[in-house]
Amino acid sequence: MSRELILNKIRQNRPKERVEMPQNISFEANFSDKIEKFTEVLRGIGGTVLAFENIDDISEDLNPQILKSSNPRILNNQAYVNNEFSDAKTTINLVPEIAFGNTDISKINDPHDLAPVDVAILRGQFGVAENGSIWLDESDFGGHRVLPFITQHLIIVLDKKKIFNNMHEAYAQLDITKTGFGLFLAGPSKTADIEQSLVIGAHGARSLVVLLTDS
C-alpha cells in the first residue's frame, strides 16, 4: 500500500530529463611509494604500522607508546606479538603463521561471549594507500562479525604487495556481494565528540596494529 503510494508519487515527480550515469571511474594517484603512503596515512589516523625487515628498522618503526621502550630486541611479527601482548588474558588468532592465541573462536556460538577478548589477530585482504584503510570481510572473522569491533586491541596482518592507490582501484576489483558483511577499517575506534578533542578508543578496538608482511 505505502510502497505503491511512494513509488507512484516518485514516478510522477521525478525529473524527466535523462542523466548519464558515470561509470568505470578512475583517477591516477601515482604515489611514489604506495606502502609508504599507506603507512603515513594510517599513522596519521592513530594506527601503528610495523614492518620488520632488518634490525635497523626497528628503532624507527616501533611506536614507543606501544613498545613501552623496555623492549630491545624485536625481530619479527612473532616476537613482537609475544612481547607486546604477553599479559593479554583472552586472545584470538586467525593467522596461522603467528603462534598466538588461547581461545578457539570456532567453539564460540554466541557473539556476546566475545566480550572478554583482549586481542584479536586477523588477516586483512588489501589496503588503500590514500586513506590508510584495510578491507576485510566476514570470512576473515572466524564466524563472528563483531570480532574486530568488540576486541580491545586489534592486529591485522597485511601483505604489503596488496595495497591499492585509491578507492576506485579498490572497488574495481572488489566484489562486495561475496559475503554478507565486509568493511573498510581505518585505524582504531575514535571520537571527537567532547570539545573536538580526539580520543582513541570509543566503542570499537582501542588500538590497531598493522603488521606488513612480504606474503
Partner: protein, 452 residues
C-alpha cells in the same frame, strides 16, 4: 521561538559564541586541507553530483531494484509514507519479539521522525550510542549538528552530565576520562540489547546492500550483537552501483571532518546466520520535494555537515536555533518542505554568501535555494507584517531615483548631525556594531561636481 530570537539568546554569552564559531571554523579548515590533497577533488564533486542527478531521475526503478535484491538477500523491506508509519514499523518489530530495549547509532532520519519519544511513550528504553548523541540524550536536548551532535557543549557541561548520570567524578572534564566512562557504560547496553537500529549512509541498488559509516564503531557493536537489526533510510540514500561508493566515501569524511575516511565503512549485504534484518524506506515529504524543480537538488545531500561548519550564521547562532532535526544551510532548504509555516523564518537565517554551495561535496546550489525559499515563503504569506512592509518600502525607494536620492540625503544628515537617532536600541543594525561615519556627499554628487 523563531531563529532570530533563539540566536539572541545564544549570543548573550559572547566568549562562548566565539568559541563555538572557532571550533566549527577549525573543522572547515581541516576539510580544506583534506580536499586539497586530492587534485581531482572538483572532478569528484562533479561526479558525485552527476551520480545523484542520475539517481533522482531514476529513483523509482533504482528503489525497486534495491528492494528485489535486498529481499533476495534475506532482508525484510518496509515502506513508510510518513514519520508516523516509520515509527509504527519500528515499534511493531519490537512488539512482535517482545523487546523492551533498543540501541541506536546515529540516524538523523529518526530525529526527523521523533522516533525516540514515540518509543519511550510506548515503554521502550532507547539508548543512543554515538557519544555525542548519548550526551545530548542524557541532557534531554536534540543534537545541534548532524555530524557532531554535542558541538555546542563545553567539556564542563559534559562532565556535569556524566557525573549526574554515569557517576563520574564531580568536576572531572578530561575528554579521555569521560569517553572511557561512556565506553564502559555503553558496552553494558550493547551486550544487553536485543535490537539495534542504525542509519544508512548509502544503499546500493545493484546489490541490495547498504553502507554505514562511523568513527566510534557503535553501529557495528549494536548490529553484530543484536538478534534484530533495523536500518532506517530516507529513499534518497540510494545510489546505483557499488563502484559509486568509491566517489562518495572519498568525499564524505574529508568534507565532514577532514579525515581521509571514517574509521569504519561497514558494508551490510545479508543478515548474519540467525539474525533478522529490516530496512525501512521512508518518504516523509521527499517525493513532494522531488517534484519541486527548484528544490529537488536538496535530496542529493549526503549529510556531511560541511555547509554548517562554514556557515557564518550557523557558527554564531548554534544548531538549536534552527528548531529542526537538520540545522544549518541544508536544514534551511529541507525544513520548509516538511512544514513551510513552522519553518518560514529559516530561509532568512542566511547571508546568502554562498560558502555552503562552495563546500558542498555533491554541489547542491544551497544558497540559491535559500533565496528561492524566501520567495515561496513570502508568496504563501508566512512573512510577518513589518518585514513585508519594510521590503515594500525598500522596493519603492530603490526603484525611484528621486526618492532614493532624497532618502540618501536625509540618512547622511541624520547620521552626521543627529547620530543618536540611529545609534540606539530601536535600530536593529546598531546591535553589536557601531553605525559607520556618514560621508558628506554621495558618489553621485561627487561625480556631477568632478566629471569635467
Amino acid at each position: 521561538m523563531n531563529h532570530a530570537q533563539a540566536s539572541d539568546i545564544f549570543n548573550i554569552d559572547e566568549p562562548r559564541v566565539n568559541w563555538h564559531d572557532e571550533s566549527l571554523w577549525f573543522i572547515r579548515q581541516k576539510r580544506d586541507k583534506a580536499a586539497w590533497t586530492l587534485p581531482e577533488w572538483e572532478t569528484l564533486r562533479g561526479l558525485a553530483s552527476q551520480i545523484k542527478d542520475h539517481t533522482l531521475a531514476n529513483m523509482d526503478t533504482l528503489l525497486e531494484q534495491f528492494e528485489a535484491k535486498a529481499q533476495a538477500n534475506g532482508i525484510t523491506i518496509h515502506w513508510a509514507v510518513d514519520a508516523q508509519e516509520h515509527n509504527d514499523i519500528v515499534l511493531n518489530i519490537m512488539k512482535k519479539h517482545g523487546f523492551k530495549k533498543i540501541v541506536k547509532s546515529k540516524s538523523m532520519l529518526t530525529e526527523e521522525c521523533h522516533l525516540n519519544p514515540y518509543l519511550e511513550k510506548n515503554g521502550i528504553e532507547v539508548i543512543d550510542t554515538d557519544l555525542g548523541e548519548r550526551i545530548v540524550q542524557l541532557r534531554n536536548e536534540p543534537p545541534s549538528h548532524i555530524v557532531m551532535p554535542a558541538i555546542h557543549l563545553k567539556k564542563q557541561d559534559i562532565g556535569d552530565t556524566f557525573h549526574e548520570h554515569l557517576g563520574t567524578q564531580k568536576g572531572a572534564t578530561d575528554p579521555q576520562y569521560l569517553t572511557e566512562a561512556a565506553r564502559q557504560h555503553l558496552r553494558v547496553k550493547f551486550i544487553a540489547a536485543d535490537i539495534a537500529l542504525t542509519g544508512v549512509n548509502f544503499a546500493i541498488a545493484e546489490t541490495g546492500g547498504f553502507v554505514v559509516c562511523t568513527n566510534e564503531g557503535n553501529a557495528d557493536m549494536g548490529a553484530h550483537l543484536a538478534k534484530v537489526h533495523v536500518a532506517c533510510m530516507g529513499f534518497e540514500k540510494i545510489i546505483p552501483r557499488a563502484e559509486h561508493l568509491g566517489v562518495f566515501l572519498r568525499l564524505l569524511a574529508r568534507s565532514a571532518t577532514g579525515q581521509p575516511i571514517t574509521t569504519y565503512s561497514s558494508h551490510f549485504q545479508k543478515p548474519r546466520e540467525g539474525q533478522e534484518m529490516h530496512i525501512v524506506i521512508v518518504d516523509n515529504g521527499r517525493s513532494t520535494q522531488l517534484g519541486r524543480p527548484d528544490f529537488r537538488n536538496s535530496l542529493k545531500c549526503i549529510r556531511c555537515g560541511a555547509c554548517m561548519n562554514t556557515c557564518p550564521v550557523y557558527r554564531r547562532s548554534g544548531g538549536h536555533s534552527y528548531h529542526s532535526a537538520v540545522a544549518g544551510p541544508i536544514g534551511i532548504i529541507l525544513a520548509p518542505n516538511l512544514n513551510m509555516k513552522k519553518n518560514a523564518d529559516l530561509p532568512f537565517a542566511s547571508t546568502l554568501c554562498g560558502s555552503c554551495t562552495n563546500v558542498c561535496p555533491v554541489k547542491i546550489d544551497i544558497h540559491d535555494q535559500i533565496w528561492k525559499w524566501r520567495q515561496e515563503v513570502v508568496k504563501e504569506g508566512y512573512v510577518d507584517f513589518s518585514k513585508k512592509q519594510g521590503i515594500k518600502l525598500m522596493n519603492t525607494v530603490l526603484s525611484n531615483p528621486k526618492i532614493y536620492r532624497l532618502a540618501g540625503k536625509i540618512g547622511r544628515s541624520t547620521m552626521r548631525f543627529a547620530p543618536f537617532l540611529v545609534n540606539n536600541g530601536l535600530n536593529p543594525w546598531y546591535k553589536q556594531r557601531d553605525m559607520p561615519e556618514a560621508p558628506k556627499e554621495s558618489f553621485r554628487d561627487w561625480y556631477l561636481k568632478n566629471r569635467k
